[in-house]
Structures are given as structure tokens and as C-alpha cells.
Subunit: 228 residues, 2 copies
């Protein structure tokens, strides 16, 4: 087969996953970026992902998988009837999308199988997203075990895809520092849950707040473009 070391990188176009993609490259992998269009309100993030791929020719391929959940609902990110919160909430936030990372990792696993990739990178973070069940180390460990049974390679050769989570235990400030050392251009990434068509951030949602704190903690000027 091929002797390239390949990795599938879950890539939304936001701050975390753009950092994760740069890290996969720094780790020596040929990178295959995977995005999802699942009816999320903030399609500006996807636009940022496409722009990033167009401007970085070391990314070997980019797939954008469309997922139409046929009105299942359950999250402020896909359901117009649920408000995006503008302040930190108790427990699991309304922006949580049921089983989202399970679905994303499953599709990544399928593509990794087709490509013969060794690793899947996902920018989950247990520090800032402690409210999301599928951002926890226990969840990733369970998916790692599942991957050991789910693929052709696992059955035929015992090989299994490694699930890599380089951001898991980093603060937002540490993520920004890591990405800056890897020359990520954060001005081009979009994190806001309700960014406008030009990718300009609202400055008030949970994602904006976390992101701004990250730049402050890392001691970098915040390059985010905010709406008036």
C-alpha cells in the first residue's frame, strides 16, 4: 500500500480544529480534513474551513459531508426554536448537539479506513467544554476501543486507528499559544455560534467569550473581527 502516514482531521474551521490540523501536520502526517454541514446555524465557520483549505496546499484533501437530520432537533445550534445562550450555563449547555462527536468520529473512521490512515485528530477539550459528554477523555477512550472492533483492518491485521486529542487538557490560552507557534492565522478562523455571512463574530455568545479569554490569557492581541 502507501507509505505515507495519513491522518483524518476533524476540521470545522474554528479556532480549536484549525490548531488541531496544524498539530497533525507538525506530527508528520499527510492531512485529510473532514468537515460537516449538518444544518448548523453558523455556516460562516464552514466558509472559514473552505478558505483555509484553499490557502494551505499541504492539506491533501478536504471532504465536507452533508448530514440532513430530517428535523430531529435537540440543540440550539440546529434548532431555530432554541436560543443560543449568551452567558455561562449550569450543566450541559443548549448548544450541545446530541451525539455529534460520536457521529463525526464514526464518519472519520470510515474515511480513515478507505484511506488506510493511521490516526484521527479531533480538537476536543475537557477544560472549556466540560459540559459536553462527548468531549470527555472517558468518551474518547470508549471510542478508541470501539475503533478496535469496527474496521476491516482491525479484523484482518489487528491494526487500529489512533484517536488523537492534542488539545484535550489545554486551556484556551495554551491552545492559542500552541497554534501561534505553528503559524496558525487566527484572524481567518471563526468560532462564533452566530457569526454573520462575512464571518464577523457577535462577541457575546459562549464561544466568543471563551475565544476572547484565550487570546487574553495567552497574551496575544485578539485578531477576531467583530460586528459593530
Amino acid at each position: 500500500m502507501n507509505h505515507q502516514r495519513r491522518a483524518v482531521v476533524l476540521f470545522s474551521g474554528g479556532l480549536d480544529s484549525t490548531t488541531c490540523l496544524a498539530k497533525a501536520k507538525a506530527d508528520g502526517y499527510v492531512c485529510y480534513a473532514l468537515s460537516f454541514d449538518y444544518g448548523q446555524r453558523h455556516t460562516a465557520e464552514l466558509e472559514a474551513a473552505r478558505r483555509h483549505v484553499a490557502e494551505n496546499e499541504w492539506i491533501a484533501d478536504h471532504k465536507c459531508v452533508r448530514l440532513d437530520f430530517d428535523g430531529m432537533g435537540g440543540s440550539a445550534l440546529t434548532d431555530d426554536g432554541i436560543d443560543v445562550p449568551e452567558s455561562p450555563s449550569e450543566g450541559i449547555p443548549s448548544t450541545y448537539v446530541p451525539a455529534r462527536n460520536t457521529v463525526f468520529l464514526s464518519v472519520a473512521l470510515g474515511w480513515a479506513e478507505v484511506l488506510g490512515a493511521e490516526a484521527i485528530y479531533i480538537g476536543v477539550n475537557a477544560v472549556d467544554y466540560s459540559g459536553y459528554p462527548d468531549c470527555r477523555p472517558e468518551f474518547i477512550d470508549a471510542f478508541q476501543k470501539l475503533a478496535g472492533f469496527a474496521t476491516k483492518a482491525a479484523v484482518e491485521t489487528g491494526e487500529r486507528v489512533q484517536i488523537s486529542t492534542p488539545l484535550m487538557h489545554l486551556s484556551k490560552g495554551e491552545i492559542v499559544s500552541l497554534g501561534t507557534s505553528l503559524e496558525v492565522d487566527y484572524a481567518r478562523t471563526v468560532s462564533c455560534y452566530q457569526a454573520d455571512a462575512e464571518g464577523r463574530a457577535c462577541g457575546v455568545c459562549d464561544a466568543c467569550r471563551l475565544r476572547a479569554d484565550g487570546f487574553a490569557d495567552a497574551g496575544f492581541a485578539d485578531p477576531t473581527i467583530y460586528r459593530e
Copy 2:
């Protein structure tokens, strides 16, 4: 919340999943059927699923999730460049879709979470599909463990969705016998990998062969409609 016992049932419209749906009903669940349109060649199976739902009003809801893999390939069922086999093959068949059941179960898990469902039914079978990594009991056990970490309910109350596989250890003949006892109308189900627009079967692919053997073993007349 509600006091109905709800189950999400993975439902392709084929023989196995139609039997599985009847079993979930017999087990006392209010049934939510979940189908996928993932660019499979045999859309006649999906048409059979829609017809079945229309004719059985005890099915509480039916979602058909569209998944566009953006040309990832890797299977004879989605890739026109790979032939559907017409005889039993060694090892993992070319009709295997990478990580398909992992993706299907993940979406089912998300819907189960939104519905507050107790169970997910999937008609996997280790006897006839021993070549598929994601039809094995070890795979289902690993997904069951993952489900224990992946949802809001798992975090907040320790509740976890039960993955039910009532067909796992049945022969095709036993599946047909079970479904017949539950009044499944098999004339209306489509299994063929290359059925035509009217749902008529080719009679020569792996799926047709297995199905015909099932009716023979169970001692029932084969109600399948074959092309000339």
C-alpha cells in the same frame, strides 16, 4: 417526561430490519424508525421502508437521514466503480461500507437522546454477515460501552440506552420464522443489492441468495418478486 417506553429502530426496509421492527413492537416499545439515504445503489429498499411505514400506523415516526459522503468511496454499495459480487467471497465482501453501522448507531443514539428512548434496535446478524466487522457481538458490546459515556442522560443520571440485537444469533430461516410469527409481510420487503425501481430482485447477488435460502430453510414459500 413521558412514560412511554420508546425505541429507535434502524430500518432499511429489508428483511432483517423489518423483522427487527416487528420484534421491537412485540417487546412493548413505541417504535421510531430510522432510515438512511447514503447514496446506496439500491434505493428500492428505501421505497419499501417508506411504504411499510405508511401501511403500519403503529410506527410513531420515521426519519430518513440523508448522508452525502462527498465521494469517499470504498464500497460496492455506494461506488459505481466496484462490482456487486454474485457469489460468496472469501473474507470481507466488497459490499461492506466502511464504518456504516458505527455511523448508523451514532445517529440513532442522537435521536434516542432527543426522544428519551430506552433502546436502539439493530438487525445485525453474526451468522450470515460474519464477514462484516461491524455486525459482530464484540462490536455491539463496544458500542454499548460508548453509549454509556456519549449522552447527556449518561452524564446526568447514569441512564444508558440499551442496544438490542434480537437477530444476532439467528439463521436466516429462524429470522423468517420469527417475522412470520409476528405477521411481517415479506412480499413487501426488498433485500436485493441491485433491485430495480419497482423493487424486483435480481436473484443472483449475495443478499438474494441468503434471502432465498432463508425461506427454504424456514419451509415457507419465497414471496420475493424477481425480475424475469
